[in-house]
């Protein structure tokens, strides 16, 4: 039996009747410490002030509020609860929370309403028993030491082979965190050959995709969906693979399916909006972005790009017909939010203004002109680089608003920064024929390629030389600057003379202006750490 009187509980539910009913059940079990909350936000706050042994959380706390899964995600990501704590998801219906499963964080158990005291006690005691058994694994997880997790799994299985199935997922996650790709692949395949589970399919698909084996990943996901046709996470995975292979239409269909199964997912709605926009399905894009904005309100995944996406989708949907008053109000609202919440982000200020200007270009040309002027003034003094997508959108809007020269300027700087990326250059070519923009970077990009070849061949000095020449031609190019820094740091920072260290630091200072959403941002951070030793 559990020492109930020493355990602390948090009950989260929006119905006070339910809270008091569960509270009295717990009292009857001998529990002394019971706190309650009626929203996820409140629950998070309470968990940041106090460690609870048990959290009983209702899944659905009403529209526009954080749901149980989001709260669990926040608790785990912010490390507000230990892996040893017990999180029970209370649902109104068996399947309700199921669609959330195979996500990174799963509750320790689901409990379906209504339940009685006996059921509650039985579930909790069993979970505690199991957690005691898995204690070494859970403690290693709390310390973030995947190697120890792995060792604990091995130990436990040795102790009693019957425990092996309980360790499967912990072991797979640990192998993933340790980047042991081959053992992980073999392990997942052996699980799937015997008793397939959704999470194992998802993990294998993700691994293959990460390793660039897209065709195999696609096959895995397709088989997974045939076996488990109600798991959104599998549709997400397939969509990722399809996008990477350029099949955006089918990718969109997959995400639509996932959204149908599980509509409350900010990131999924946002990605769907982006895909639909690219596929020129402006209705679909508006709908998905609108959902993402409203659900994002209370989510850690709130993102100004969603608001800008919604505005873009609505403007595109209006097309030649123009916008009705209601749409203009919606656009205004969603953009004002961005402008208000990101006063210090010059890039967002420019983009929000230009978007707004575009939306009122025909209904209120005077306002459009004013906003465009403001945007151009801020653009002028802007230090930070825009992302390639943002730059392309800004350029096209400037052109539409009659500021062709300013638009060309943005394209030119976009080509300088991202000129080594052929897809970016293709998108630029859709907007301009100006050879000065389109081929200005060619020499530098060629030099960069040669530099990479020399670097791979181990000819360090030659590589540095190529990168140096390339960077002199295109000083803002992120890839070249990173390559320059890396080829210098390759020798070890302690072996660099003052001039070389200076050169290295200078190239990194320039790239420091890249948006932190850039996929290379991580690499930049690591290089910077080595070069500046901070």
């Amino acid at each position: 039996m559990l020492a109930w009187n020493q355990k602390s509980f948090l009950i989260v539910d929006d119905f006070s009747d339910f809270r008091s009913s569960v509270r009295s059940m717990l009292r009857e079990l001998g529990v002394k410490e019971v706190d309650t909350a009626d929203t996820g936000e409140q629950a998070l706050k309470m968990c940041s002030q106090k460690r609870y042994d048990f959290i009983l959380h209702d899944f659905n706390l009403g529209d526009g509020k954080k749901n149980g899964q989001q709260v669990l995600e926040d608790l785990m990501t912010d490390k507000l609860i230990s892996h040893e704590s017990v999180f029970v998801m209370v649902t109104a219906e068996n399947s309700q929370a199921m669609v959330m499963s195979a996500l990174e964080w799963e509750p320790d158990a689901y409990l379906t309403k209504p339940f009685n005291r006996a059921s509650l006690a039985q579930r909790l005691e069993k979970i505690v028993q199991r957690k005691n058994l898995l204690k070494p694994i859970l403690q290693a997880l709390d310390c973030g030491k995947p190697a120890e997790v792995l060792a604990a799994c091995v130990n436990l299985t040795k102790q009693d082979p019957r425990f092996a199935p309980l360790c499967l997922r912990y072991k797979a996650d640990a192998l993933r965190d340790l980047n042991q790709h081959e053992p992980l692949e073999a392990f997942l395949k052996s699980i799937l050959a015997d008793r397939p589970q959704p999470w194992a399919f998802a993990a294998l698909g993700k691994l293959l995709f990460k390793r660039g084996r897209n065709a195999e990943a696609q096959t895995v996901y397709e088989e997974a969906i045939r076996t488990f046709n109600t798991m959104p996470v599998l549709f997400d995975g397939l969509a990722d693979v399809l996008m990477a292979s350029g099949d955006n239409r089918r990718a969109q269909k997959m995400l639509e399916e996932a959204v149908r199964l599980s509509p409350y997912a900010v990131r999924r709605q946002r990605l769907l909006g982006k895909l639909a926009l690219e596929n020129q399905d402006f209705d679909g894009a508006s709908k998905a972005y609108r959902q993402a904005v409203s659900q994002g309100q209370f989510s850690r995944f709130k993102d100004p790009e969603t608001n800008l996406g919604l505005a873009q989708a609505l403007i595109s949907r209006g097309g030649e017909r123009g916008l009705d008053a209601r749409t203009r109000v919606e656009i205004n609202q969603t953009l004002s939010e961005v402008a208000k919440e990101h006063t210090n982000d010059a890039g967002l200020q420019v983009r929000a203004r230009l978007m707004k200007a575009t939306s009122v270009a025909s209904s209120d040309p005077e306002m459009a002109a004013k906003l465009t002027e403001q945007a151009m003034a801020r653009l002028e003094g802007m230090e930070q680089f825009l992302s390639a997508d943002a730059a392309l959108a800004v350029a096209s809007q400037l052109k539409q608003l009659g500021q062709e020269a300013a638009g060309a300027g943005v394209l030119k700087s976009c080509a300088e920064i991202y000129g080594d990326d052929p897809t970016v250059m293709q998108s630029i070519a859709k907007q301009t024929d100006d050879p000065e923009i389109l081929s200005a970077g060619k020499a530098a990009v060629d030099l960069n390629m040669q530099g990479i070849r020399s670097y791979r061949a181990g000819k360090l000095g030659e590589a540095q030389d190529m990168f140096r020449q390339a960077l002199a031609l295109q000083p803002k190019n992120i890839s070249i600057a990173l390559n320059m820094a890396q080829s210098l740091l390759h020798m070890g920072v302690q072996n660099l003379d003052t001039a070389s260290l200076q050169e290295c630091q200078n190239s990194l200072k320039m790239v420091g202006k890249m948006p932190d959403t850039d996929p290379r941002y991580d690499r930049y951070q690591k290089l910077r750490l080595r070069a500046f030793g901070e």
Partner: protein, 230 residues
Amino acid sequence: MTDQQPGLDFSMVIASTVHDMKNSLASLIQAHGQWIRQLPEAQRGTPEQGVIDYEFAHLNGMLVQLLGLYKLGVNQLPLRPDYHELDDFIEAQLALHQEVLDSRGIAARFEVDDFGLLGFFDRELVGSVISNVVINAIRYARGEVLIKAGQIGEQLVITVNDDGPGFPEHMIEQQSDYVLGINQSSGSTGLGLYFAANIARQHQRQGVHGHIEIANGGELGGGLFSIYLP
């Protein structure tokens, strides 16, 4: 109005209504439970209480099953198999019905072949099947219900046995019809078999599908329901 005018999608209407009914029933059960706990000891455990508890459980089971059938119909029944400890699973089933068992004076027990036996199945789905079978067994049992779990070859078998009069002969003879949904005229028990068989069939391993069987006899001599999971 034209002939093509689409009417209500009735199964959808039922499903969403059942969903609301289930929530409403959940509140009712919860409130009733709390109210009972406030009553003096002498006024608890009356025969009426037994009826109320039993019908609550029965209603809830039917609604869960109805929602399950709807999802099965639109091919959206989420299957999420995982490893579960059998003693835990069955204990939870019995805990769920503790009030009903108590108030009807039925002794329920369980036996698991091998302590710590793990099964691979969808806990919620198989749980709703066993729950309905247990409710049915409680209805007919005179004093005992026995749940057993064990392994036959590579398959996991969970049985529910009672000491009541057993299933009607014709039902046992025609069980394959019920399972296929051909004979649905016998009301909730027949529908229950159809649901149970479908859930069993969703579970498969290397081409082998799960199935159900009904018979009379067993240790307690009454109805004997078995679900086989590969």
